[in-house]
């Protein structure tokens, strides 16, 4: 029922389902409120600010102390606390306070050796050696060693309910050994050059031997992270206090961090405006101006996150590539971005993995071409085509993108009936992966990681049925080749070939990559315009790179 997603658990929107009808009006009303706010701000000559350019704060001197209060949308009784798992949206920042990964991603979405491992090296395509950082202590004072890392990796490999489990399919879990206290050898069953990517995913946290998920006692949540868990009430809030023995010099800066669940974006924004929280992550684009008008700042980030449309390449009418190409040519990308996301984002080219180093930016930008679309449809014998497009209010802009597409398709003589489903229906056996044309969204992730999830014959979420299309076998061969290639440049070349195939024949329409917005008080410093996966610069990389001035 739930689509796994690196950053997003659809449950977040699931719990909002009940309120879909009411929240529409509420949102409308808030737009009005925004206008009122703007007027009031003007009257008061208050300087509403935007920090779309890096906030001056990044250059300031960090200041210690304070309780940082952040409001996160989603969550409920399903909230968990586990160093290697997440279910709903607020689980991610919570996890990051206490647990750290072997590798990390820097602000340009490049892998970095800044984590708990000093290096992760492929000895052969089927064996990796992990060298650990020395002198890192867990919250209880125990030193992190190879044993803890082996336990951590085996825990994910052995537990199907953990989000990272599928990524370990190529690993020889039982064969992981230590060569000394700070060196781990990870053998693979088949070649997999994405191991470093996997180890940098935030839900691959390193936990001590015999670690168990939270079940009532905060003191059991022992990690190496910058904060220790003080209290946690699912569906409400968690409090985290500074880890005095943290291994990075000087960090973190806050005394405590309080993470609060919000079920309603309006309440979240109100709390920010009234000063009851210091930051509100993942603002709907429509609320950005209201937040700015009231003197708070908005951080706009490009993250590779995307919302799009999926055409199943094995189902009529999309089993004919001419129809798929026609649909991709129908889209007026800029106009859609303007209408759906207030023009905030980067134009897309139907290929994902936007901030992966291997993103094929040289592919010619696909432009709207109604004449060509019409002639392609005519050639395919699909003039005056009528299709149903299934969508759900799972993330900001998902439903409106579908309706805008329907409008744009009219110009090519195509009738698109938008069917909006409740989110659990959308992911039910009845619809998900069963309908030819539907909305999709994914978090920004490395290209091959996304391929693994949705582009292969053994993928969990084969939305476009790409692997079963006539180009599927060729694509999968290239994928395996990429896994066997540890040389960066060669691997990039293979990935470009894969993207070319998807660009020419694939089933996704990716009109744009929307910006993500976080609202925060002007006193919050240290934020940069990072291309990180999660809001607020990956929550300040676990709330350690940001501070309150």
């Amino acid at each position: 029922m739930t689509k796994e997603d690196g950053i997003l658990a659809p449950e977040g929107s699931d719990s909002r389902r009940l309120w879909a009808a009411a929240s529409f009006t509420r949102r409308q009303l808030l737009l009005g409120a925004g206008g009122l706010g703007a007027a009031a701000a003007l009257a008061a000559c208050s300087p509403g600010g935007t920090s779309t350019s890096p906030t001056g704060g990044a250059s300031g001197t960090p200041k210690r102390g304070g309780n940082f209060r952040v409001g996160v949308i989603g969550g409920g009784s399903k909230d968990i606390f586990d160093g290697q798992n997440f279910v709903v949206f607020p689980d991610a920042p919570r996890l990051m306070t206490a647990f750290e990964t072997l590798l990390t991603r820097d602000e340009n979405f490049r892998l970095s050796n800044d984590g708990l491992a000093e290096s992760v090296v492929a000895d052969t395509p089927t064996q990796y050696t992990i060298k650990l950082r020395q002198g890192v202590q867990f919250h209880n004072g125990k030193t992190m060693t190879a044993d803890d890392v082996i336990y951590s990796l085996q825990r994910i490999g052995g537990d199907k309910t953990l989000r990272g489990h599928t990524a370990t399919a190529t690993w020889d879990i039982t064969g992981i050994t230590k060569t000394d206290d700070y060196t781990v050898r990870l053998p693979l069953k088949t070649a997999d050059s994405t191991v470093p990517d996997t180890l940098a995913a935030y839900y691959f946290g390193i936990v001590p031997v015999d670690y168990k998920a939270f079940s009532g006692d905060p003191s059991t949540q022992i990690g190496t992270g910058p904060y220790k868990l003080k209290s946690f009430t699912p569906g409400q809030e968690s409090v985290h206090e500074r880890n005095p023995n943290y291994w990075r010099e000087g960090q973190p800066y806050f005394d405590t961090v309080t993470i609060t669940d919000f079920s309603d974006a309006t309440a979240q924004v109100n709390a920010l405006l009234a000063g009851q929280i210091d930051a509100a992550t993942d603002l709907p684009a429509a609320q950005v101006s209201a937040v700015q008008a009231s003197g708070k700042q908005v951080l706009e980030s490009q993250t590779g996150w995307w919302v799009g449309l999926s055409m199943a390449t094995t189902m009529a009418p999309f089993d004919d590539n001419r129809v798929r190409e026609a649909f991709r040519l129908i889209v007026d990308r800029q106009s859609m971005l303007d209408q759906v996301a207030s023009g905030k984002g980067q134009i897309g080219n139907d290929v994902y993995g936007r901030y992966d180093a291997a993103y094929f930016a040289k592919l010619p930008q696909r432009q709207r071409d109604i004449e060509k679309a019409k002639s392609l449809l005519k050639d395919a014998g699909k003039e005056n085509l009528t299709v149903d497009l299934y969508t759900a209010d799972l993330t900001d802009g998902m439903v409106s993108m579908a309706t805008v597409f329907a409008r744009q398709a009219k110009d090519a003589g195509v009738t698109v009936n938008v069917k909006t489903l409740p989110s659990d229906k959308f992911y039910s056996d009845e619809y998900y992966l069963k309908v030819p044309f539907s909305s999709v969204y994914w978090a920004g992730r490395p290209y091959l990681d996304q391929v693994k999830l949705s582009g292969l014959s053994n993928s969990l979420y084969p939305e476009t049925q790409w692997a079963k299309s006539d180009k599927g076998p060729e694509f999968e061969k290239l994928y395996n080749q990429a896994l066997e290639t540890t040389d960066e440049a060669q691997r990039t070349e293979v990935q470009h070939k894969m993207q070319q195939l998807e660009y020419d024949n694939g089933g996704y329409i990716i009109p744009y990559f929307p910006s993500k917005f976080d609202g925060h008080t002007p006193t919050l410093q240290g934020l940069t315009q990072a291309k990180t996966t999660l809001g607020l610069n990956n929550y300040g990389y676990g709330f350690r790179t940001i501070w309150l001035a």
Partner: protein, 323 residues
């Protein structure tokens, strides 16, 4: 048996209590049937990991492998023994999960009632006294406006006015930190209470006004005035007690409405009460929690109506003597 039918007020209360229990029993059937429509909880819990073996194992664990009739008996039996079962999502007893939230919601409803009831009686009576004068016209129209605004609109307007845009004097959201009680920080209760007050006052006040007007026009009030009693005595001693009887019914309905309508207000203010729990439980197919809350809200309706009927009888001598 004769006592049961003609036993005066005690017998009347007993009859109504028994009737209330019967109503709750019927409601329990409806709630049970309705929650079956949420779908198979086992399937919802397992999601896409639902293999037939795991489904069967979970169904057995949740006692879903018996007939619906037996399931109902198990559940209703548990209710009678005071056991609400375990939540499906968190595996904890429902009572333990909801107790804190129940207190929070109860406090909110109580605050709203304590403000709304005297206020609406006063406003209604005052409008009746100044009938068709400026005060009455203004208050009647104002009441009509408030009555037509949905509660979440009222909430948004109040927040804009008091918290975020015009003034910055009150908290915009009302968090109650776990383990604390709502009155530890009374400021957070103001706007939710005000929202609830503004949604129920128009209804009660308008009823109060009508019944007060009726009483003020009746012969006994005329008589009291002719006797030369002061207007104050006429109002407080003679008019008010007679006018308030019919108002009790609207107060009861309003209180019952508060118990359910609080869902929206809690949502708007991120207040951790039963409303949030109900929303969450429905979204997660957490059947035991939905059932417990539905029964609870039904019980509030029954109890409040019972109290209103008794109160009406007590303040209305002509009804009392008929029993």
């Amino acid at each position: 048996m004769t006592w049961f039918r003609h036993g005066g007020i005690p017998a009347f209360i007993l009859r109504r209590v028994l009737l209330g229990i019967l109503v709750l029993a019927l409601v329990s059937v409806l709630v049970f049937v309705a929650t079956q429509a949420l779908g198979d909880p086992a399937k919802a819990l397992l999601g896409r990991d639902a293999t037939p073996e795991r489904l069967a194992a979970l169904r057995q664990e949740l006692n879903l492998d018996v007939s619906p009739f037996e399931q109902y008996l198990n559940w209703a039996g548990g209710l009678l023994q005071g056991s609400l079962g375990d939540s499906l999502t968190s595996q904890k007893p429902v009572a333990e999960l909801l107790s804190g939230r129940l207190i929070n919601s109860g406090v909110l409803v109580l605050c709203a009632a304590l403000v709304a009831i005297p206020l609406s009686i006063a406003v209604g009576s005052w409008a009746a006294l100044r009938r068709e004068k400026l005060v009455d016209t203004i208050s009647s129209n104002l009441m009509l406006v408030f009555a037509s605004l949905p509660d979440f609109v009222v909430a948004v307007l109040l927040v804009i006015f008091f918290s975020t845009t015009v003034f910055h004097v009150l908290p915009a959201i009302s968090p109650v930190p776990p383990g604390q009680l709502p009155w530890n920080n009374p400021a957070i209760l103001v706007l939710p209470t005000l929202t609830l007050v503004m949604t129920v006052v128009p209804y009660i006040a308008r009823n109060m006004r009508v019944s007060m007007i009726e009483v003020l026009e009746s012969d006994f009030v005329e008589m009291a005035r002719l006797k030369g009693l002061s207007e104050r005595i006429v109002l407080v001693r003679h008019a008010l007690p007679n006018a308030i009887g019919p108002a009790f019914q609207s107060i009861a309905l309003s209180l019952a409405y508060l118990a359910g309508g609080i869902v929206v207000v809690e949502y708007a203010f991120n207040y951790p009460g039963i409303g949030g729990a109900l929303q969450d439980a429905v979204a997660n197919h957490d059947v035991p929690v939905v059932q417990a809350l539905a029964m609870l809200i039904a019980a509030v309706y029954v109890v409040v109506n019972l109290m209103a009927d008794v109160a009406t009888i007590l303040v209305t001598p002509r009804l009392r003597t008929r029993l």
